[in-house]
């Protein structure tokens, strides 16, 4: 085979711009976890089904296991590590804590980021809209009730942005 060559890409991850050299066959999830040591996005099904690898790309939730890193070139990425900014926890994370909406925790980062995208677009979602938004994120502890309650509570607790 011919020489395997890397691509130079620029990603803005949690507000920090990175220039990265990567092979085209690596996924965004691999680059985030291995090159940037951001382990919040999880690898689970590798098949696009479960949502544990969810990150926000330009504000929208995507499966980082199905997206090549080179395809995210120029994108703004938010992972769970960057959600709270300088605060200790983000209000959505606080709501998950308050409602006990975390069991094993494997789905949690994906759930929280999906909730973030939902609440940014729709600050007062109905229960059905919450269910639709998180329909692509599986919780195998089946703790959905508390997750839905936590996300729904953010709208009432919130004072000026989340």
């Amino acid at each position: 085979m011919d020489k395997k060559s890397k691509r130079l890409i620029t990603l803005t991850v949690n507000g920090q711009e990175y220039e990265l050299a990567t092979y085209p066959n690596r996924t965004l999830l691999e680059v985030l976890r291995e090159d940037l040591s951001l382990k919040g996005a999880k690898e689970a099904c590798e098949d696009g089904v479960c949502g544990a690898c969810t990150v926000l790309l330009d504000g929208k939730p995507v499966r980082s296991c199905l997206l090549l890193a080179v395809e995210a070139q120029g994108g703004e990425i938010t992972t769970i590590e960057g959600l709270s900014g300088n605060e200790k926890v983000h209000p959505i994370q606080q709501a998950f804590l308050d409602h006990g909406a975390v069991q094993c925790g494997y789905c949690t980062s994906g759930m929280v980021l999906t909730a973030k995208a939902l609440l940014d677009a729709n600050p007062k979602p109905s229960e059905e809209e919450v269910l639709t938004a998180i329909s692509g994120n599986f919780c195998r502890c089946t703790g959905y009730n508390k997750i839905v309650k936590a996300i729904s509570s953010v709208k009432t607790d919130r004072e000026g942005g989340h």
């Binding site: 085979m1 011919d2 395997k4 691509r7 092979y23 085209p24 066959n25 690596r26 996924t27 691999e30 590798e46 098949d47 696009g48 089904v49 949502g51 969810t54 790309l57 929208k60 939730p61 995507v62 499966r63 296991c65 199905l66 997206l67 090549l68 080179v70 395809e71 070139q73 999906t114 639709t132 938004a133 329909s135 692509g136 994120n137």
Partner: protein, 325 residues
């Protein structure tokens, strides 16, 4: 599992893309939500991929006269969220919302959905699973694992978008760098009816746009059966599209998904056209579904049950279409 190395082309113009498609043995990468799992399972092992991400002319929805032109890399989220599509192509809007979950729709494209591969429980499996068995016909082998002894592949086309496009009378624009390579054909012409190679686009060709006629006095409905409503491909799907003139049904189309290796157009001659919408016998619509659909026990539910559900969901889709006209 990590993806094997491949070379990636990233053309910046459509002519450049067509040159690459002509010269190289490449697979097209759009949103990647269908092809990435296939690559992970080792079912596809392309040495070269061509990315469509730098081609804005393949993206977007535009009304031109009495038709909607939709670029092949328009995402399903963009389609589901487009007010023009909701108004002028409501069947496509409904079908787009039925595909997978919102995060998938944020990257999956209309072209990628139409050009998705057919599926089978004995094919869509990991390399470790397949290593214990002979390769099946679709995987380049000589046997069918679903129907031992068969020389025919029974994999099933499970797209939601293609049946909706076909029912609405849509065409697909195809470009190629050769004489007479550029053309517009009905979406149904993309399908070969063969499970091993379900799509007919030849090497060097690229589907760039879908063109949907905007008609007056129409009604439509898409009904989808699946176990996990958040994520699954259809186990039965039905797209119904009717037009009316002065209170009577002028034309009716019903197209099924998960009914064989290609979307199935149900012949409705004498069943619907010319009648008032309230007079149409939905059982007659269900009886018009061909009896010899090539369904076998190669999906999570048995063939007999899926056959039954095709009737049920066909009736639901048609009832919705008739109620809306």
């Amino acid at each position: 599992m990590r993806l094997p190395y491949f070379e990636l082309f990233e053309p910046a113009t459509v002519p450049e893309l067509l040159t690459i498609l002509k010269r190289e043995q490449v697979r097209v990468l759009a949103g990647g939500t269908d092809i990435m799992p296939l690559m992970r399972f080792g079912l596809l092992q392309p040495a070269k991929l061509v990315s469509l991400r730098n081609l804005p002319e393949l993206k977007g929805v535009e009304r031109r006269g009495k038709a909607l032109h939709i670029g092949a890399t328009t995402t399903l989220a963009e389609i589901a969220g487009s007010p023009i599509i909701e108004k002028d192509a409501p069947l496509l809007h409904e079908a787009a919302l039925a595909v997978a979950a919102p995060p998938i729709r944020n990257v999956a494209t209309i072209g990628g959905n139409v050009f998705q591969n057919s599926r089978c429980l004995f094919y869509n499996q990991s390399a470790a699973w397949r290593r214990e068995r002979q390769p099946c016909l679709k995987a380049g082998g000589e046997v069918c694992l679903a129907v031992p002894g068969s020389r025919k592949c029974f994999s099933v086309y499970q797209g939601d978008i293609a049946p909706a496009l076909i029912a609405a009378g849509a065409k697909v624009r195809i470009e190629a760098k050769k004489k007479g390579g550029s053309r517009e054909v009905p979406v149904e012409d993309l399908f070969t009816g063969r499970g091993v190679q379900p799509l007919s686009l030849r090497s060097g060709e690229m589907a760039t746009h879908f063109v949907i006629p905007i008609l007056q006095d129409t009604g439509s409905g898409y009904a989808k059966f699946r176990l996990r409503s958040a994520i699954d491909y259809p186990l039965a799907g039905a797209a119904a599209f009717v037009t009316a003139r002065k209170g009577t049904i002028a034309s009716a189309r019903l197209v099924l998904s998960a009914a064989g290796p290609a979307p199935v157009i149900v012949p409705l001659d004498g069943v619907a056209a010319g009648k008032r919408s309230g007079e149409i016998d939905l059982d007659a619509i269900a009886r018009a579904i061909p009896k010899n659909l090539p369904l076998v026990n190669n999906h999570i539910l048995p063939a007999s049950y899926r056959r039954e559900m095709l009737s049920v969901f066909a009736k639901r889709a048609m009832k919705t279409a008739l109620d809306r006209v």
